[in-house]
């Protein structure tokens, strides 16, 4: 390489570094042609879901006092947010419920939906408060118990979570109660028994596709945690064959593949899933492992998205941001701070893993103490976490 080229290159890169104010906010432009497509909607107007939502909206417009219609519409929108991985639908669901939520004592069905919306927004304490109100009005509301169990589990409050699962045995199907408590038991030292029982429950008649998806996802993640890759692979395969689109499942499967080093498969799985941050993050991790040049663009894109998320003053992406900062920006110190903040709100295996990995990378062994205590106290069964923990000097003795 000759000197001029080097100089030119250095000037160009220096210039670019100075001149890009922010990826999130470019200069506006005037499109040159009417036919230019600016945006693809996630749902077409002719899709059955869109029709259903439109019909519900129309009937609510005709009869704005009809709470049943409002609740059905909000439920549909929450489901939609999950399958599309798009939080806009959550805000829309909440807006539908506003007239009832503004009452001094909102009806329980609307409070329940708000609890779920708040759960998705990681406002766990507010969600629990809504659930308390629902259960004081309707102690037999199975969905409220289930949501409560799920939030307690995310918060690492396993005793309370187990207690919340119990009423489900008489209020909902046996398989629902079993999956609820089996998920917790599988994490806290009884993976073998839980896997056996959950696998057996799949044979029960009358399980809906969504419930089957739930049970299979729980099983797949549990098998992956215990190191049984072939079982995990089979559960993921069965879950994906159900034909129900679910962002959580795709993300969990991508994580499994990444851990197996099957990065090419991750690229194939996710190459068209760049809209959702969580999936773009996993795609970029795979691209980086494969040394694909596009990983640089995707890293910049993710950085811009996290920045845009911070601008609105809410932080629900902390886990993703910690993972991004550690693995793609390779800044263990910042990643550790993020992972610690994240650990304050949620305590799932991935949250523990990120804190351990960042603490190791940053040589901050004391920072990992809360996670190591959590692992010991709850007898957490997770192969990867155990492999990480033994790397800490005091755990080696």
């Amino acid at each position: 390489m000759n000197g001029i080229r080097t100089l030119g290159w250095m000037i160009t890169t220096g210039w670019l570094a100075l001149s890009t104010p922010s990826l999130t906010f470019g200069e506006p432009f005037l499109p040159q042609q009417d036919a230019q497509v600016l945006e693809h909607l996630t749902v077409k107007a002719t899709d059955p879901v869109a029709r259903e939502i439109r019909a519900l909206r129309a009937s609510l417009l005709r009869d704005p006092q009809n709470m049943d219609v409002a609740v059905s519409l909000a439920t549909k929108l929450i489901e939609q947010s999950r399958s599309e991985g798009d939080p806009r639908f959550l805000g829309q669901a909440q807006a539908v419920l506003v007239p009832w939520l503004n009452h001094p004592t909102p009806p329980s069905s609307t409070l329940l939906l708000r609890a779920m919306i708040r759960q998705h927004a990681h406002e766990f304490d507010l969600a629990l408060a809504d659930l308390d109100a629902v259960l004081s009005m309707q102690p037999a509301n199975a969905q409220a118990w289930l949501t409560r169990a799920s939030i307690y589990q995310v918060q690492g409050r396993y005793d309370e979570a187990r207690r919340a699962c119990q009423p489900l045995l008489r209020l909902a199907g046996r398989h629902v109660a079993l999956t609820c408590s089996g998920d917790i038991a599988g994490l806290t030292g009884q993976a073998a028994t839980s896997r056996q029982m959950l696998t057996a429950s799949l044979d029960r008649p009358g399980i809906s596709a969504r419930e089957r998806l739930w049970i299979l996802t729980v099983l797949a993640e549990m098998a992956a945690r215990t190191g049984d890759a072939s079982a995990a692979e089979k559960h993921f395969f069965d879950a994906r064959s159900l034909g129900v689109k679910d962002h959580y499942l795709i993300g969990a499967y991508a994580d499994f593949l990444l851990d197996q080093g099957r990065t090419q498969e991750v690229v194939t799985l996710l190459q068209h899933e760049t809209r959702a941050d969580g999936l773009l993050l996993r795609l970029t991790l795979a691209e980086q492992a494969l040394h694909l040049p596009v990983s640089k663009n995707h890293t910049a894109e993710l950085a811009a998205r996290f920045a845009a998320g911070r601008e609105r003053g809410t932080r629900v992406h902390v886990r993703e941001e910690a993972r991004f900062t550690l693995a793609l920006l390779r800044d263990p110190q910042t990643a550790l701070t993020l992972a610690q903040a994240n650990w304050e709100t949620q305590k799932e295996p991935w949250d523990a893993r990120l804190l351990l990995e960042s603490a190791l990378a940053a040589d901050s062994w004391n920072a990992a103490r809360p996670v190591i205590d959590w692992l010991h106290t709850n007898h957490v069964e997770d192969m990867r976490l155990q492999q990480l923990v033994v790397q800490f000097p005091e755990e080696q003795s």
């Binding site: 001029i4 005037l30 998705h120 959580y248 609105r312 886990r319």
Partner: protein
């Protein structure tokens, strides 16, 4: 019971998958009794609110957005009420552009609000989309004489009041200096011109051949002389144009600046011109000064402190310029030997260098539609204020 079955999947823990919830970005720049506004609203949100996808194919085209401009403007502006004192300031939104944000394409509404008198207190009442999306937020940047205030509107807090105060002198100096620094960095035609002239400063002509300068000091004095000539020249025209003694059409100025970069690049091929680089820097510096002046007038000059803002802006330009030169000089000095070797090898490489500079510039000129290149300073100022 049906609800339970339908929602059982929602129980899995729900990490943040998706892109962010709905936001709009609103930038208001207050100038005396006028407000220049820029409002970025997601096309997806507008589609939910007023329906953009006319043919229902799931793709929103520019034609669909363009033909609904009036509806978009009416919908959005009816949900933003700005009052100065007690009086409502009506808005006009003749222009609409598009911008790509991290979560998709946004309509960019450019509007002007006129209040009856100079704005002292400004009340903003923001109601966009809250009826459709309870988690929607409006992110506001309010700019007054370079002073930036931010606020977030949400369903819970849709109104805000701002006091538009006269900024202190020191603040004003800082703000204009800051704008000056940014301008020299962002408006890269100036940087290219200067670097093209400085490239040969680490070389000297000995018996018709290029030799590396023997010592750092002589390269330093050479660079200093060129930069000084450029600075004196552009300061003169910046001042003359700002006080209104001479006014040139900005298109002409932009084209002349572009030509200056090409000229500076090519001039390196002609030893006779290389010897006269100080003169070239001075003559074209006069033109660049007009370019700076148009930025400064876009920023809006406060009445009564014209001289102060002029001097601070110019100071900022010099600081930004010095930073670039400080990076360039050691780098070029370090590379000068390998560089002369390759120059000696053939003139082909120097032609390539000159032409690459010219190409970079031509790209910068033609990659954007001319009508907003014209207003470039204004746009990047808006985007800048958003960043801060």
């Amino acid at each position: 019971m049906r609800l339970i079955l339908a929602l059982a999947m929602l129980l899995l823990s729900t990490p943040a998958w998706a892109h962010k919830p709905s936001d709009s970005l609103l930038s208001l720049t207050v100038q005396h009794d006028r407000i220049e506004g820029r409002w970025d609203i997601a096309l997806r949100d507008l589609d939910d609110a007023i329906g953009l996808d006319a043919d229902g194919d799931g793709a929103i085209t520019w034609g669909e957005v363009r033909s609904t401009h009036d509806e978009i403007a009416a919908y959005a502006l009816s949900r933003l009420t700005i009052t100065s004192g007690e009086t409502h300031c009506p808005a006009q939104a003749p222009h609409q552009l598009i911008d790509n944000h991290t979560d998709g394409a946004y309509a960019v509404l450019l509007f002007t609000m006129t209040c009856p008198s100079a704005i002292e207190t400004l009340q903003a009442d923001y109601r966009l989309l809250f009826d459709l999306d309870a988690q929607h937020k409006g992110l506001l940047r309010l700019t007054h004489e370079g002073d930036i205030t931010t606020a977030i509107f949400s369903q819970e807090s849709p109104t805000r009041q701002f006091t538009i105060s006269e900024t202190s002198m020191w603040n004003q100096v800082q703000q204009y200096a800051h704008e000056g620094i940014w301008h020299i960095w962002m408006g890269y035609d100036h940087v290219l011109f200067l670097l093209a002239l400085l490239l040969p400063a680490v070389l000297r002509r000995v018996a018709g051949r290029w030799e590396p300068t023997p010592d750092f000091l002589s390269a330093f004095w050479e660079v200093l002389a060129i930069v000084t000539a450029f600075t004196i020249a552009h300061s003169i025209t910046l001042g003359v144009a700002t006080v209104g003694l001479i006014a040139l059409p900005s298109r002409l100025v932009e084209s002349a600046i572009a030509a200056s970069v090409v000229f500076a690049g090519i001039s390196n091929l002609y030893p006779a011109l290389v010897q006269r680089r100080r003169l070239v820097a001075f003559l074209f510096g006069l033109i660049h000064g007009f370019g700076f002046a148009s930025v400064l007038s876009d920023l809006g000059l406060p009445r009564g402190s014209l001289a102060l803002s002029l001097v601070s802006f110019n100071l900022g330009v010099e600081v930004g310029q010095l930073a670039i030169v400080a990076m360039f000089l050691p780098l070029a000095y370090g590379l000068r030997k390998s560089w002369t070797a390759s120059l000696r090898g053939s003139t082909y490489r120097s032609v390539r260098l000159a032409s690459s500079l010219a190409t970079a510039l031509l790209n910068s000129l033609f990659e954007h539609p001319a009508d907003y290149r014209h207003n470039r300073a204004k746009y990047y100022r808006n985007s800048m204020s958003r960043k801060n």
